[in-house]
Each structure stands twice: as structure tokens, then as C-alpha cells.
């Protein structure tokens, strides 16, 4: 067997994502290791045959076929920190949470610190593994109907809450349905709109006609059903390949009906109610000071390596760094402005780790207004941005140049086409568009938030950069942040040239390409409604991730080429971590994963 033949499917898949192998090589390699399903589906696509024609017997990892089939779930290895020979069994570890959470209710919450807290207590229906592929969690396996609309999850046998109560399909059904309730009014309900009846119920007036509300609720109850204690069935309006990713986010955390109902919106503030099936349980909570968790010894992937997990709430990065230096913190996320100080320190520089963030920044151009209705002008702008210089001068050296919407680490990241800094090409493109050396190019305003120095620096940089390379005049213009937001929200045509960004909700390309630039979006610049792009992402959205990736990659490359916006930056996450912390799992955008595999972290004895 060749070296490649020894690779796991996930590794081969990762190579494909990184662009190290072609699709054909991927299929050969996958077939070589007996992963017939995904490869067969790629081959079937290439050969123009339908998915139904591919052999369902090819692999247990096959995508939906025939009457429905097993849905591929990666396995997160059972290897808890407590089982490590060098682990300190009594370890207390303190991380910085930043600010206090506004809500710990999984069906309501929206912010990173809230996810941090709730993910200690609960385990989602599915997880994501370190390659951002759907993996087993509360559900140990899943099947998908042939039309891609009905998911059937088998809940893990013997799984319990930390108080010993069994955690069943009914609990997950209750939680997911609750996330769509108009009374709960959750912030991320719209991620579940593919569920039949979900959107109609969520957007109904909770004070409206009770009979009508009941009807809407009944539709959702029918769509999210616990067939028995171990079987959860969810029906969708349409095939949604991204759905397993949504099942891996906090909206699925199985809050318990008996601990939630009748206890108001702040039910979660009482540790007696905040009981989950996750790796930790709440020991105490001091508002705006700290959350203290104790290990949940009955966690289904084993007893966590950390006995006491503390989240202190320190908002000032300066204070957090001092506390880290004094060993009062074991892990912090320093700010970019501290990078220079950290790199100059012999100890800190060794403890610093960096990962590209799941975010992208861009210069947005009104594609329906002159001169940006000309693709050559947009491409000229994209080629004129000196991204490296921006990172050095404006971003304190933190970040990587962005040449496309998807960040490195997203399953559909591609390198086929990237926008890059090429001043000669930029000049040529602008000349081809009828503006040689910027002559007759109408002056543009680039807004910056008046009370935000960083925003002003950014606008000034782009004005100078574009003027130097293209000879065009860009005027940095101050504006109130709310007014700028209002222009964006209302898609005001007077907003010609602006800065935009997107932060990921879940690492599926649909969350980027389709939601931000796809059909019907209000997030893309005015005038961007490209039939080819829409067709690609609409097709891809319906497919399982392995089949969808080539389409998303094509769409991402096409987007970068058409340049409705000029991408310039993926921010980086900085992490300072003490060397005695071990066992942690690194994800594409996170050095120390605390969302899916925190049970693996441990502190070395001594």
C-alpha cells in the first residue's frame, strides 16, 4: 500500500481542501483506502450519473442513497485528560472569559463567551472534529433520507445529565423545538429555518391568535420528533447539506424542560437549573466575576482532565496579561496591540500561538453604480490593495492577507483563484476600464466611524494605498456608527464604497457563500446578484459536505474573480498558553478547543 493509501479519509479530505491534491487524486486515494462512498459520489457526479445510481453498499460512510442511508459522522476519539499518566487529578485551570455573559440560555445566546460557558455544561447533538467535519456527540449515528430532507439521529446509549438523569431524544427534541419558539425569541433561531414549519412559527406573534399559534407549533412538533428515547427525527423543507453543522451548535444543547419551564428568562442563572450532559457542571457563579465548573465524571467521553475549570471575567487585556504573567491565568487571548510586547518577552513569545480566525474583511463596492458596475474597475481595486502592508501598518502585524471570502481552514477554502496585490495588473485593469492612471475616475468617499480611531486609520490607509497605486481619489469621511449601520441595513444606494466583514456562525461554506453573497442576501453589496454564483451555491447547499465542497470552491473562486468586493484580511486569534497545559485539541481557527473536546485538556503534575 502506498503512503497515501495509509492516510485516513479525513486526511485525504484535508489535502483536497488544502488544494494539495486534485479531485481525481482524491477519488483515487479514497478508493484506495476503501472509502468508496464519498469517492463514488464524486465519480458519479463527474460521470453525470445521479446519486441514486451509485452503489449504496460501497461504504458505510456513503451519503444519502436509495431509501436513505447512513450519514457520515467523524469519530472524536475517547481520550480524556484524566486518563493521561502525567495529569494532575486535582488540577484547577483558570481561563479569561472576557466580559460577563448576557445569557447562558443555549436557545437564546449569541456571543462567544456565552458559547464558552454553555459548552462546558452541555453537549450538542453533533460535534465538529478538528477538521471541522460533523462528528458524533449526543447522537452517535445518523441517517439521511434519499431526498436529503429527513435526518434520523440515534442518541448515545446510556448518556446522562450530570445529576444522573438520562439524556434522551426527547430532551434534544425539546431543546431544538424550543430554539424555534417565538416566546423564547432566540438569537440564532434562523439557523433552523430549514426545519419544516420552523420559520413560520418563529416569526409568528406570540401574542397573536392562540389557535393559529398552536397550529404552527404543531407543525414544528411533527418536524422534530422523538420516535423513542434513542431516536430523534428531524424533517426539513428542503435538502440542506449544512444542517449537520447547525446540529453541532449551541441551539441543540439539551436543556431540560423540568428545569426551564416556568422559571423565567433567567432560569440558567441558578446552577440548580443549569444541569447538562457536557464535560463539566457549574459549581458557582459570581456575577461579573467568575464561573467555576467542576468536572462531570459521568461525561460520555470520559472524565475531564481538569477538576476545577474557572472562567474569570477580565475585560482589560492589559490586566489579563499581567495576571497571566503572575500565573493567575493559565490561558488568555491577548489583543493584537500586545503582540509587540509579547514577542519582545523571552517567556511570553514561547507561549504564544496564533491561528487564522474564522472571519474575513473586505472593501465593498456598489456593483450597480458607476464606476464599480464595471468588473475591471472592481478587479483593479482588488489588485491594488497592499494587504501585507495593511497588516503591518494597521493591524499591528496580526492577520493574514485575504484573497477570497473563505478563510484557510474552512472546508471549502481554495487557492485556485485568490485576489492578490499586483499593482501593474491593477493599473492595467483600470486603464482597460477607461481610467488610465485614474484619470476621470470619480472621487469616492470611504466612510469611517467618527469615534473609532482604528476605523479612521483603516480608511486613511485605503485612501492612500489606492491613490498611490491607481491614482484615484478616495476621501476618508467620518460618519456616526449608527448612521453608517442604517445605510448598510437599508441598502442605501448612496453607500458606494464601504468596509464590510463577516464572522462565522458555523464552519460550513453555506454560512459564508450562500448567506452573505447568495440569492436574496441583504449582506452583499448592491448590484451583486450573479446567476452563475447563485446556481453554484444553491446546488451546493442541498448536498452533503463532501459532495458540496467542489461546488463551493468553484463559487468561492468565481466570487473572488468577479470581485463584488475586494477581500483584504483574515484576522488572527492570538493565544497565550502555559506550557503545563496539555492534551488540548487544535481546530483550524482555535489553538485550544474548549467547545467540543475540553475533556481532553489536562494540567501536568508538579
Amino acid at each position: 500500500m502506498s503512503d497515501r493509501g495509509n492516510d485516513s479519509f479525513a486526511e485525504i479530505f484535508a489535502r483536497l481542501q488544502r488544494g494539495e491534491i486534485s479531485r481525481r487524486q482524491f477519488m483515487e486515494a479514497a478508493a484506495g483506502v476503501g472509502i468508496g462512498g464519498a469517492a463514488a459520489l464524486f465519480l458519479s457526479r463527474a460521470a453525470g450519473v445521479s446519486a441514486q445510481d451509485a452503489s449504496p453498499a460501497a461504504s458505510p460512510a456513503a451519503s444519502p442513497v436509495g431509501e436513505g442511508g447512513a450519514f457520515t459522522l467523524a469519530e472524536i476519539p475517547v481520550n480524556p485528560g484524566s486518563a493521561q499518566p502525567d495529569a494532575d487529578p486535582e488540577a484547577t485551570v483558570t481561563f479569561n472569559l472576557g466580559g460577563e455573559i448576557d445569557s447562558g440560555d443555549p436557545q437564546v445566546l449569541a456571543f462567544l463567551n456565552e458559547i464558552e460557558v454553555s459548552s462546558k455544561v452541555y453537549a450538542p447533538l453533533l460535534a465538529l472534529d478538528e477538521k471541522n467535519l460533523p462528528a458524533a456527540s449526543g447522537a452517535e449515528s445518523a441517517t439521511l433520507s434519499a431526498d436529503g430532507r429527513i435526518y434520523t439521529f440515534t442518541i448515545r446509549e446510556g448518556m446522562t445529565y450530570s445529576d444522573g438523569t438520562p439524556c434522551t431524544a426527547k430532551n434534544y427534541a425539546y431543546a431544538i423545538k424550543r430554539a424555534l419558539s417565538p416566546v423564547v425569541n432566540g438569537n440564532y433561531s434562523n439557523t433552523l429555518y430549514a426545519i419544516t414549519g420552523g420559520q413560520a412559527w418563529r416569526e409568528a406573534d406570540p401574542n397573536g391568535d392562540p389557535a393559529e399559534l398552536k397550529k404552527l407549533e404543531d407543525v414544528v412538533s411533527e418536524s422534530i420528533k422523538a420516535l423513542d428515547d434513542r431516536t430523534l427525527q428531524i424533517s426539513l423543507d428542503y435538502a440542506a447539506g449544512y444542517f449537520p453543522y447547525v446540529m453541532a451548535i449551541w441551539v441543540t444543547y439539551p436543556v431540560r424542560e423540568d428545569l426551564v419551564e416556568g422559571k423565567g428568562e433567567t432560569w440558567w442563572q441558578d446552577p440548580a437549573n443549569y444541569i447538562g450532559n457536557g464535560p463539566f457542571k457549574v459549581a458557582s457563579h459570581d456575577d461579573k466575576q467568575q464561573w467555576v465548573f467542576e468536572r462531570n465524571e459521568s461525561f460520555f467521553r470520559g472524565s475531564p482532565g481538569i477538576k476545577t475549570f474557572v472562567f474569570k471575567e477580565v475585560e482589560s487585556p492589559e490586566t489579563a496579561l499581567l495576571a497571566y504573567q503572575q500565573n493567575e491565568f493559565d490561558l488568555i487571548g491577548p489583543s493584537s496591540s500586545q503582540l509587540q510586547q509579547i514577542e519582545a518577552d523571552a517567556t511570553l513569545s514561547k507561549e504564544l500561538q496564533r491561528t487564522v480566525g474564522a472571519n474575513t474583511y473586505w472593501l465593498s463596492m456598489n456593483n450597480s453604480a458607476k464606476p464599480f458596475d464595471d468588473v475591471k474597475v472592481r478587479q483593479a481595486i482588488a489588485a491594488a490593495i497592499n494587504r501585507e502592508q495593511y497588516i503591518k501598518q494597521i493591524a499591528s502585524g496580526v492577520g493574514v492577507p485575504a484573497g477570497t471570502l473563505l478563510y484557510p481552514g474552512n472546508p471549502a477554502y481554495q487557492t485556485t483563484y485568490q485576489q492578490t496585490y499586483d499593482p501593474d495588473k491593477a493599473k492595467q485593469l483600470l486603464a482597460d476600464a477607461g481610467y488610465p492612471d485614474g484619470k476621470d475616475f470619480p472621487p469616492q468617499q470611504l466612510y469611517y466611524v467618527s469615534d473609532d480611531a482604528a476605523s479612521q486609520q483603516r480608511a486613511t490607509f485605503f485612501a492612500q494605498n489606492l491613490n498611490q497605486v491607481l491614482g484615484i481619489k478616495i476621501e476618508p469621511t467620518p460618519i456616526d456608527s449608527a448612521q453608517l449601520q442604517s445605510l448598510r441595513t437599508n441598502r442605501d444606494p448612496s453607500l458606494i464604497f464601504a468596509i464590510g466583514q463577516w464572522f462565522e456562525d458555523y464552519p460550513h461554506p453555506q454560512n459564508w457563500l450562500s448567506l452573505v453573497f447568495g440569492p436574496g442576501t441583504t449582506r452583499a453589496p448592491l448590484g451583486w446578484d450573479d446567476p452563475k454564483f447563485n446556481e453554484l451555491v444553491t446546488k451546493a447547499d442541498k448536498l452533503p459536505i463532501d459532495q458540496a465542497i467542489p461546488l463551493y470552491q468553484e463559487a468561492d473562486a468565481y466570487l473572488a474573480e468577479q470581485a463584488p468586493v475586494a477581500f483584504y484580511l483574515h484576522d488572527e486569534n492570538l493565544t497565550l498558553i502555559k506550557p503545563y497545559l496539555k492534551g488540548y485539541v487544535t481546530y483550524p481557527t482555535t489553538v485550544v478547543d474548549t467547545t467540543y473536546q475540553s475533556e481532553k485538556i489536562y494540567r501536568v503534575k508538579g
Binding site: D205, Q289, T319, L322, S486, R523
Partner: protein
């Protein structure tokens, strides 16, 4: 005096109503909404979700109706629930943060008075000597260096270098450095005000008369100079107390104090209307009460003021 106090207390009603009305109007007229991306941490909500939030919090009703509901509830001390910290009442939020801010504020004020007044008197009595210049130099530095710099400086010296205090907010020791950082500016201000005031009183005829009558210098200073020199100081102590006990965002951020200082700024940034209104009214109430206490204290410091009241 009793009638005076009752009259002043009754005056608080129109003052607070005015504050509430102006704040309500400004808050709603200011651009932006609680569901803007800026208010929701960068995430732009779908219009349907935005509508559901507006409905939940009554923001879909006419402004006049919202105002009426607000005033009616405010009279009952019900400021509603925060939009951001859902399910938590504004009273609860203020009630949780205020004790921390108040403890640090009282300590800071004590420090400011205990240091500021003697230093001011000393400087005035040693006018144009080395002691006066030295105190002037130190107070100028304390007053002009930003709180943020003082706070970090104190942390570096006492927590990192000497290791006497924890960096993070943990126990009773954690109140000391924030109080010093918060009080240093006020101490400097009080010292300078005391110095100027005492210098002015020292030049008064009644001081010359007291000395001419053969009164001992100590008696002249304590009975006449300091007592009269304290009146302007009392004037500033009222608002200073209100400002110190309601917390400051910078000090609380640096020392990780779970106080209410950051509430004001956070609520404005996130357009959390109930919290903006609640905190503004609470702050206005404390200012009004402090001013009343100061006015009463004037009477004790100077009987002529009591007579005119």
C-alpha cells in the same frame, strides 16, 4: 431646617421627571437601535427577528405610548428588563453592581479627603515654601495623569513587582488599589482647592482680628481658617461622592471590579434603553441627594448659611 429639607425633597420630583424625559427623548432620537449590528456585537439580525424583539419589548408601539408606560412604571420603581441581559431587571442589575462601586467610591473619597485636606492646609500654611511647591507638583501630577495609567502603574508595582495584591479581583485586598487609583485624582483636586480656599481665608479680616485679639495660632487655624476654608471643599465633595460611588468604567475595567461603572457606557453603546434610563435616573437621584446633604452640611460649617436657609 425641616421645612427646607422637605422642600428640597419635593423639588427632586420635577428634577427627576425632567431628567427622565430628556433622557428618554435623546435616547430615542439618537440614531441606531438596540438590534443594530453595533449593539449586537457585530451581528446583523434578520428583519423578522428584529421585529420579534421590537414586539417583545414594546418598541413597535408609538413613542408617546412607550413614554407613558415608562413613566408609569418608573413611579413604581420598575424600570423594566434589560434588552441585553434578557430577563434581568434594571433594578437587579444596578443592585448587583452598586455595592462594589459604592465600597470603592467611599474608600476613594475617604482617601481623597484624608490626604487632600491636610495636604491643602499644609501647602497654604507653608505658602511659597519648598513644601508648598512639592505638594503643588505632586498634586498636579496626580490630577493630570490619566486614571488608566495610575491603575496600571499600581498593578505593576503592587501586584506584579511586590506581589502584595492579586491582579484579579478576588478578596478584600482587591478594593485597595482601585480606591487609590480612583481617589488620587480627587485627593489632588481637593488638596488644591483646600489650599486656595485656606489661602483666601487667611487673608480675611476676621483672621487678622482673631490674631490681634491674641488667639493662639493653632486656634486661629482650626477654629476659623480651616472651618471657613472647608465650605468650597464641601461643595465639590457632594458631586465627587456621587461620581465616585457610581463607579468609573476605566477603573472597573482595569481591576476587573464587577461594579456599575461600565453599565452606563455599555448601555449607551448597545442602546439598552431600560438600562440607560435606570442608570441615568439613579445617578441623578444620587447627585440630588448628595447636593442636599452638602447644603445641610453648609449650615453646620457656617451658621450664617443656616440662618439664610
Amino acid at each position: 431646617m425641616f421645612r427646607y429639607i422637605v422642600r428640597r425633597v419635593l423639588w427632586m420630583i420635577p428634577v427627576l421627571w425632567m431628567v427622565a424625559t430628556v433622557t428618554f427623548l435623546m435616547m430615542h432620537w439618537a440614531p441606531g437601535s438596540p438590534w443594530d449590528a453595533k449593539s449586537t456585537g457585530g451581528r446583523q439580525l434578520d428583519p423578522a427577528l428584529e421585529a420579534s424583539f421590537n414586539r417583545q419589548y414594546g418598541l413597535d408601539k408609538p413613542l408617546l405610548v412607550q413614554y407613558g408606560t415608562y413613566l408609569k412604571n418608573a413611579v413604581l420603581l420598575d424600570f423594566g428588563d434589560s434588552y441585553k441581559q434578557r430577563g434581568k431587571s434594571v433594578t437587579e442589575i444596578i443592585g448587583q453592581g452598586f455595592p462594589y462601586s459604592a465600597k470603592i467610591g467611599v474608600l476613594a473619597l475617604l482617601l481623597a479627603v484624608v490626604i487632600g485636606v491636610p495636604v491643602g492646609i499644609y501647602a497654604a500654611l507653608r505658602h511659597n515654601t519648598f513644601g508648598d511647591y512639592a505638594s503643588l507638583f505632586i498634586t498636579t501630577i496626580s490630577y493630570t495623569v490619566p486614571e488608566f495609567v495610575i491603575a496600571i502603574f499600581l498593578l505593576v508595582v503592587f501586584s506584579v513587582r511586590l506581589g502584595w495584591m492579586p491582579v484579579l479581583f478576588t478578596d478584600w485586598r482587591s478594593y485597595i488599589l482601585p480606591a487609590v487609583a480612583l481617589g488620587s485624582g480627587s485627593a489632588a483636586y481637593i488638596a488644591r482647592l483646600t489650599r486656595a480656599s485656606v489661602l483666601e481665608v487667611l487673608r480675611e479680616d476676621f483672621v487678622t482680628t482673631a490674631r490681634a485679639k491674641g488667639l493662639r495660632n493653632r486656634a486661629v487655624i482650626t477654629r476659623h481658617v480651616v472651618r471657613n476654608g472647608m465650605i468650597p471643599v464641601l461643595t465639590v465633595i457632594g458631586p465627587a461622592f456621587a461620581a465616585l460611588v457610581t463607579g468609573t468604567i476605566i477603573i472597573e475595567r482595569v481591576f476587573g471590579v464587577p461594579g456599575m461603572g461600565r453599565l452606563f457606557i455599555d448601555s449607551i453603546t448597545s442602546r439598552d434603553y431600560p438600562v440607560i434610563m435606570g442608570v441615568t435616573l439613579f445617578y441623578a437621584f444620587i447627585i440630588v441627594v448628595c447636593n442636599l446633604v452638602v447644603d445641610i452640611a453648609y449650615g453646620f460649617a457656617d451658621p450664617r448659611i443656616r440662618a439664610s436657609q
